[in-house]
């Protein structure tokens, strides 16, 4: 299971998460969501679940989970 859940329909492609991710684990998708934005995609192999994307996101796209 991934550490970060991305609600892709809420993403508005502002790019804050891409810029502020300390591990450069976030990029934009090749396709579009239903609002016409390219949405954030998290590379699970790089993600450390620090929550920076959650902090900077104005639209509540991210939900951070950590293993029990």
């Amino acid at each position: 299971m991934s550490k970060v859940i991305v609600k892709k329909e809420q993403c508005k492609q502002c790019g804050y998460c891409v810029k502020h991710c300390p591990k450069q684990a976030i990029s934009f998708s090749a396709d579009f969501n239903s609002s016409g934005f390219k949405y954030a995609v998290v590379d699970d192999s790089k993600c450390i679940a620090c929550g920076m994307c959650y902090t900077t996101c104005p639209d509540g796209v991210f939900e951070i989970r950590k293993p029990d």
């Binding site: 502002c14 790019g15 996101c57 104005p58 509540g60 029990d68």
Partner: protein, 246 residues
């Protein structure tokens, strides 16, 4: 897998603002603080006239919309009648400063025990980016097409400084939204402001320097850069007053 960070449950639906708008971040910070202070079911959110008017459908809490700029007066009544309820006035710079100067100042002057959170994006956002009191010198807006001329319209207003130095209020601070660290600091300011209200110390105010990519005609990332380079040197960040000491 345990959920460690999740949008507060009272933000039931997505906020409807432009891509990169700071409103979404500040509303989330406020609702996180409300949740952490245990006021989820005992909060009244004073909504302004402006972009934040669009919050109606997003928040599952009691919302009051004042006449343009008059939340300072309306929420005084609400807080006096319901002293145990957390009352938050969420206003833009145009609503709280230009239009509602008298109400905002009088509420602070009387030290009314509610919290004001103002979003300073240096223009009137909803109506298309007109010049406001907070517009920076030289900034082009739809009503200052050659850039704001300070000879003609004066220098941008620093409302938190005025309130902090003039009146006996509890807490005044200014935050910004350009990095995760600053966003977390801003959350700290908002939490202290709400705590000051909860403890009954007095009026509290937090101004937040927020990006407005649409009306600044910039990308969201360029808007964050503009806050660092242009706004922060004029509008210093940090706590201006803290009577509670917590």
């Amino acid at each position: 897998m345990a959920v460690v960070k999740k949008v507060p449950e009272k933000i039931a639906r997505q906020v409807p603002f432009c891509p990169g708008c700071g409103h979404g971040i500040v509303v989330r910070l406020i609702m996180e603080c409300v949740e952490e202070l245990g006021y989820n079911d005992n909060v009244i959110f004073g909504k302004p006239v402006g972009c934040a008017s669009l919050l109606d459908n997003s928040l599952d809490i009691d919302i009051f919309t004042g006449a343009h700029g008059r939340n300072g007066a309306s929420l005084t009544a609400i807080k006096r009648l319901k002293p145990d309820t957390l009352v938050i006035s969420y206003q833009g710079d145009g609503d709280a400063y230009n239009i509602g100067f008298a109400e905002t100042m009088n509420a602070a002057y009387r030290n009314e025990k509610f919290t004001v959170v103002t979003i300073n994006n240096t223009n009137f956002g909803m109506t298309g980016g007109q010049m406001a009191w907070t517009t920076m010198p030289g900034q082009k807006t739809t009503t200052s097409v050659n850039g704001r001329d300070v000879e003609l319209s004066g220098l941008p207003i620093k409302m938190p400084e005025m309130i902090a130095t003039s009146f006996d209020t509890a807490y005044v601070a200014r935050g910004a939204l350009f990095t995760p660290a600053e966003i977390n600091k801003t959350k700290g300011y908002i939490k202290k402001a709400l705590q000051a209200q909860s403890d009954g110390i007095g009026h509290s105010m937090v101004e937040v320097l927020s990006p407005c990519p649409t009306n600044w005609h910039m990308s969201p990332l360029e808007a964050q850069e503009r806050i660092i380079k242009e706004l922060v040197p004029y509008y210093p960040l940090g706590e201006l007053k803290n009577k509670g000491g917590k």
